[in-house]
């Protein structure tokens, strides 16, 4: 940072790369987002407020944010375990195991949704096991969380894995020679280092979950007030040619997500500083 802010930067090509970055960001992110704003013709502040406080919209936001947060949290724990196994141990088929982590990225989300519903609905392989216990997985918030976990898991694994890989084994050995237990070592030595990437992974999985549409519409059952997610509400408004209404919900979703992500990011930065 110091080098580049002096009059003549040490690294070459700032002008060019900055130009490309601005161009790319404009074409792919900023212009489409401002088009979203411009599309809101006929959207007055009053109407925006009406839409924002509509009980059905609020309910869908609750479903979206809660399931996304739950899925993100579970993914954070499971993702840490997965990354731990991948980094610390050798076992046959590890390469395949490692590559499999990324599969949810490649699979069209609708396919994932249909497959998950087939398995977890009350006559599916796994769903039929839970049915006698009175637990409905598909067509309930549990199903939504499950779909979002599937979508989000690679984010956590792929952010934690490199950090875990870079950790010095010597520090752990030192802790051990000083008489720390395995758990104590993990808690005081490893965990502080792993917290920032875990938070990043959580934030990514969470953000992905909020916007997820394809996999969730199949498994959620889409019942208004109960299992209807915010993205479906946006689609439903578009289907009725209600651009202004759809824009309002979309904007609201973006705004809340942005604030939440900003919070998580600043948290993560603080942890990183204290960890060092």
């Amino acid at each position: 940072m110091l080098g580049t802010t002096t009059k003549r930067g040490v690294l070459p090509g700032f002008g060019l790369t900055m130009g490309y970055s601005v161009l790319y960001l404009s074409l792919v992110v900023l212009i489409p987002l401002s088009a979203l704003l411009l599309n809101s013709t006929g959207l007055t502040l009053g109407k925006f407020w009406d839409i924002a406080t509509d009980p059905r919209v609020l309910a869908s936001f609750k479903v979206s944010f809660l399931t996304a947060a739950a899925a993100g949290l579970i993914d954070a724990v499971l993702g840490l375990l997965l990354a731990w196994v991948l980094v610390r141990y050798d076992f046959p088929g590890k390469g395949i195991f490692d590559a499999m982590i990324d599969l949810p990225f490649a699979l069209p989300t609708a396919v994932a949704g249909v497959a998950l519903t087939a398995i977890y609905s009350s006559n599916g392989w796994i769903g039929s096991l839970f049915e006698p216990l009175g637990i409905k997985i598909a067509f309930s918030p549990i199903g939504i969380t499950l779909a979002l976990m599937f979508i989000g898991i690679p984010f956590v694994v792929r952010t934690v894995q490199p950090v875990l890989q870079d950790l010095d084994a010597e520090v752990e050995e030192a802790a051990a020679t000083l008489g720390a237990s395995r758990f104590r070592t993990f808690r005081s030595v490893l965990f502080p280092e792993l917290l920032p990437p875990l938070l990043t992974g959580f934030a990514l999985a969470f953000a992905r979950g909020i916007g997820e549409y394809g996999s969730v519409v199949f498994i959620s059952g889409n019942m208004p007030m109960r299992t209807e997610i915010a993205p479906l509400l946006i689609m439903s408004k578009l289907e009725q040619f209600d651009y202004a209404g759809a824009t309002a919900v979309a904007l609201l979703l973006l705004l809340i997500s942005f604030v939440l992500l900003l919070l998580i990011n600043s948290l993560q930065r603080r942890f990183r500083k204290t960890a060092r």
Partner: protein, 356 residues
């Protein structure tokens, strides 16, 4: 530092501009190429022509067959080779794609409401629905019940759907065009049963949707839920979808039940005026829609389980389409009235789900 940044921004702007200009240039060239065959074609042997039919999901098989038949007919009649491209998807989505610039010569959608929306954007002239016979609906359909083989719950009519323990599968009317027909069919039945008392009809529909365990986002999704997941006792379905399910999955699994009355679903067709005038495809596009009313067009529709409107074909397929009492959307003031009243925010459907 600042100077460098400025240069960067400037460069990106220049790049963006050049891309936009480049894209425009290309489009112009394409237009010229498209227009050429029609202006030079008079008198001489006509050049090949291509039109795009933007339709909704369940008509895929229908138009695959019909397009072949029409191309042959047109070649015989005019000596011109016509290629018809198809586009399928949810009806509302397809309508929006046309509004947003998908160059459809003709649209054949599930609801008049979707074509009305295209008209409001200025692409289709007013009065499109009067341009062809029968409200521009060459074939019709209706809403029927698909039940499990042997009809274990004894479902015969609409009021059986709100019996205790009956689960009904129907998609969400706010995301699915087909589901709006389902809803209005139930609404119409309840109105007729209660001397047009709207409050009672509302009660009935509210009760009906309490029996719906899952609201899928589209008609095909609902069919999957009912057929593959084994959820629910009765599926409210398009007549053609019901027949298709029975044909594909075996008549040993499902029965089709015809209620005492249902709605006459009229999926309309229209020429997209702005596009055909620009591309010079008006003549062939209008003929394409007209031919749907012909003996051959009607037979293809009937073979794909759509109700034909031509008497001669109707009698030929009488077995397949039992006569039941059918009421139309006009009874509810057409889509322009029914849509906001029932399905827009604050409409009756959204009130059903209002928190207690």
């Amino acid at each position: 530092m600042k100077k460098v940044l400025k240069q960067g921004v400037l460069l990106s702007l220049v790049l963006a501009m050049s891309m936009v200009v480049g894209a425009c240039g290309n489009e112009k060239k394409n237009d010229a190429a498209n227009a050429a065959p029609n202006t030079t074609g008079s008198g001489e042997k006509l050049k090949d022509i291509e039109i795009l039919n933007v339709s909704y999901d369940p008509t895929r098989e229908l138009y695959e067959k019909y397009n072949k038949a029409f191309a042959e007919h047109w070649l015989k009649e005019k000596g011109q080779k016509v290629t018809i491209k198809q586009s399928h998807g949810g009806s509302g989505k397809q309508g929006r794609a046309v509004i947003d610039g998908l160059e459809a010569d003709v649209v054949t959608l599930a609801l008049g409401y979707d074509i009305d929306a295209i008209q409001q954007s200025g692409l289709i002239n007013e009065g499109w629905q009067k341009k062809n016979d029968l409200n521009s609906s060459p074939y019709t359909s209706t809403i029927v019940f698909l039940v499990r083989k042997g009809n274990p719950k004894g479902i015969k009519d609409w009021n059986d759907l709100i019996k205790d323990g009956v689960e009904v599968i129907t998609p969400n009317p706010q995301t699915s065009g087909g589901a709006r027909w389902n809803y209005l069919a139930a609404w119409g039945y309840a109105l007729h049963q209660n001397n047009n008392d709207e409050e009672k009809a509302k009660e009935f529909v509210k009760e009906l949707y309490k029996h719906v365990p899952v609201l899928d986002s589209g008609a095909r999704g609902a069919t999957t839920t009912f057929v593959e997941r084994g959820l629910g006792d009765v599926l409210l379905a398009w007549e053609n979808e019901a027949w298709l399910s029975v044909k594909e999955l075996g008549p040993d699994k499902f029965d089709i039940i015809y209620p005492s009355e249902s709605i006459l679903a009229e999926p309309p067709v229209a020429v997209v005026d702005k596009v055909v005038d620009k591309r010079g495809t008006r003549e062939v596009s209008e003929a394409y829609l007209k031919y749907l009313y012909s003996e051959e067009g009607q037979t293809i529709a009937a073979e794909n389980y759509y109700r034909p409107t031509l008497e001669s074909v109707k009698t030929k397929f009488a077995d397949q389409f039992p006569d039941i009492k059918l009421f139309t959307i006009d009874e509810f003031g057409g889509w322009s009235e029914a849509q906001p009243k029932h399905f827009s925010d604050g409409g009756i459907f959204t009130q059903i789900y209002a928190p207690k």
